[in-house]
């Protein structure tokens, strides 16, 4: 079994071509990135608002909890059934998948963002206001930069979940690394299933590494030393 999996993984034919790992990884990443972007577009502004004003915190906590309890597969089927008659082409299948992934990614991004803003030193916030920053300036120049470490952690953990879960795209017939899991099971090629799972895990690790690098670039060194002290 292990050797079969290994053989499958090292076979050049597995990697290249239209159904190869490289092309499936690109599809997988594309769907994942779109989902993360959409989730961030929703969750970051809401998180900033909650963190800055302190309003709606309980709502966010409860919603995030409820979101986490949503069964991804169930939502996928419902969304596909609802959207399929109304959309055409690839979009009809991709949109439900993206929707499921966005629902999955919103809670970690949202809680990372508002926790980051909430954790900003109250003295720094008071000083920002006291030296004459407007509310918008406080948010952009103080709260957001200071919240970045937690915000980005939220994005990273969301991305890990997205990449793992994006495999369900294969269930409704579109590409991505989930193909190997579904097709492997259908054809009883367990080495393909195992190999596909390994590739998903590797991709998740790789993306997390890239995001960690980005985090180092955009987070102020002042916050890194603050953590060390």
């Amino acid at each position: 079994m292990i050797s079969l999996t290994w053989q499958w993984l090292v076979d050049p034919a597995t990697w290249t071509g239209p159904g190869g790992i490289i092309s499936q990884s690109i599809t997988h990443l594309r769907i994942s990135l779109v989902a993360l972007l959409l989730a961030a577009l929703v969750a970051v502004p809401v998180g900033l608002f909650i963190g800055h004003t302190g309003r709606g915190r309980w709502l966010a906590i409860n919603l995030a909890g409820a979101f986490r309890a949503i069964p991804s597969l169930g939502v996928l089927f419902v969304a596909t059934l609802l959207l399929l008659p109304r959309l055409s082409g690839n979009l009809a299948f991709e949109l439900p998948v993206v929707l499921v992934l966005v629902l999955l990614a919103v809670p970690p991004v949202l809680s990372g963002t508002y926790a980051g803003v909430e954790a900003v030193d109250p003295a720094a916030r008071d000083a920002a206001r006291g030296v004459g920053m407007t509310e918008a300036q406080i948010l952009w120049q103080v709260e957001l930069p200071a919240a970045l470490p937690l915000l980005l952690s939220g994005l990273r953990s969301a991305m890990l979940q997205i990449i793992a879960t994006a495999t369900i795209a294969a269930i409704v017939g579109i590409g991505g690394l989930g193909r190997y899991l579904i097709d492997g099971q259908a054809s009883r090629q367990y080495e393909v299933m195992a190999g596909g799972a390994i590739v998903v895990a590797l991709l998740a690790l790789l993306v997390d590494l890239v995001m960690a690098g980005l985090q180092r670039l955009v987070v102020s060194p002042g916050l890194v030393v603050a953590k060390e002290h």
Binding site: R125, R129, G130, V131, V142, E228
Partner: protein, 358 residues
């Protein structure tokens, strides 16, 4: 310069933080709001730059009602220093200090120059300017906080418990620094503290407030010690008022001449306590030549008491006399010994001035 006209702050839950406060903060100098917790001193301070809005009454700066100005613009024209400095952790010291110059629209070069000047003014180095707040000690962070408040040359600087979170030694340093800066720049400082000693040693004017936001007395520190307006002020000002008042009594204490000896000099027995100084007449310590004589060794030096500088207050002179092992306080001018004073002599000088009441 800053005038409170019947200012009241009442919160929706019915508590009154400040009750019908009227007072005038004179231009220049340090005015201290002091009182026990819950006396409304911080609320009063924060109403000056509209961090808190009064329920009734008005506050004028240079005869202009602060309520007529946009809060953000008003605050940019007033320095603001708070207890834990409140530095922006993601910005370097320099960027922190550049905050207000940038907010009021100075170009980067000018903002940078002004910030560097302010950083030097508070005694930090150019090297420290490129560090992040987390890399500095608490005292250094508070200096950055002061520099940030001064960078755009405001006329008025508000300080809310600026020294409460640092250790006592650093606190004394910072207090001296603020006093020096105030004198040097001629700014008006309004400072809030719960520490009456800090109020008295730092303030040119002290507003003592009592619970419920009432002004109990606004006076100079000396006046506060001599003529407390009521029992509350008297008890808040505390014990040893008489002794502390000496801190505000300038006395003409005539120092007695003191012959100093240098290290290695042979001093015969029977001379009693002898003051040792170096070639520049800078005092080194005392040596006991009562029982036995001989050359003065560095190891046998007794520590100096506190030193009194010509022009210091009676309190410093008296402390110098009381803390010297010889009973003679060393008086210096520019670091050189000019003579010594005994406690009796200091008391005579105080009595001659009629300054020992209180």
């Amino acid at each position: 310069m800053i005038r409170f006209e019947s200012v009241t702050k009442r919160y929706p839950d019915g508590t009154t933080a400040v009750d019908d406060l009227s007072l005038e903060v004179p231009r220049g100098g340090i005015t201290v709001f002091v009182g026990p917790s819950g006396c409304g001193k911080t609320t009063s301070l924060r109403m000056i730059n509209r961090m808190v809005e009064p329920t009734e009454g008005r506050i004028l700066i240079n005869d202009e009602d602060v309520a007529d100005r946009k809060p953000a613009r008003l605050r940019r024209s007033i320095g603001y220093v708070i207890q834990h400095a409140g530095l922006f952790p993601h910005r370097t010291v320099l960027a922190n200090v550049m905050t207000v110059p940038t907010l009021i629209g100075w170009d980067k070069g000018r903002a940078r120059t002004a910030a560097m000047e302010a950083i030097e003014k508070v005694g930090l180095t150019a090297d420290q300017a490129s560090r992040y707040p987390a890399q500095l000690s608490g005292g250094q962070q508070q200096r950055v906080g002061v520099a940030r408040a001064l960078a755009s040359d405001p006329e008025v600087v508000l300080m809310d418990e600026p020294f409460s979170a640092v250790d006592p030694l650093v606190r004394t340093d910072l207090q001296n620094e603020v006093r020096r800066l105030q004198r040097e720049l001629g700014i008006t400082v309004v400072l809030v503290t719960h520490d009456i000693d800090e109020a008295i040693s730092l303030g040119d004017h002290v507003a003592v407030m009592r619970q419920g936001g009432h002004l109990a007395q606004l006076a100079s520190p000396g006046e506060l010690l001599t003529e407390p307006a009521d029992d509350f002020v008297a008890s808040f000002v505390g014990k040893d008022r008489g002794y502390r008042k000496l801190g505000f009594t300038e006395t003409q204490v005539e120092a007695d001449p003191e012959r100093t000896v240098s290290l290695g000099e042979d001093v015969p027995a029977g001379r009693g306590w002898v003051l040792v100084a170096d070639e520049q007449e800078q005092p080194l310590g005392w040596v006991d030549r009562q029982g036995s004589g001989g050359p003065v060794q560095e190891e046998e030096l007794h520590r100096m008491g506190s030193l009194a500088e010509v022009g210091d207050s009676a309190r410093v002179f008296l402390d110098a006399a009381l803390s010297a092992p010889s009973g003679r306080g060393v008086v210096v001018q520019d670091g050189r010994v000019v003579g010594t004073v005994t406690p009796e002599r200091v008391l005579e000088a105080i009595r001659a001035q009629g300054g020992s009441d209180g």
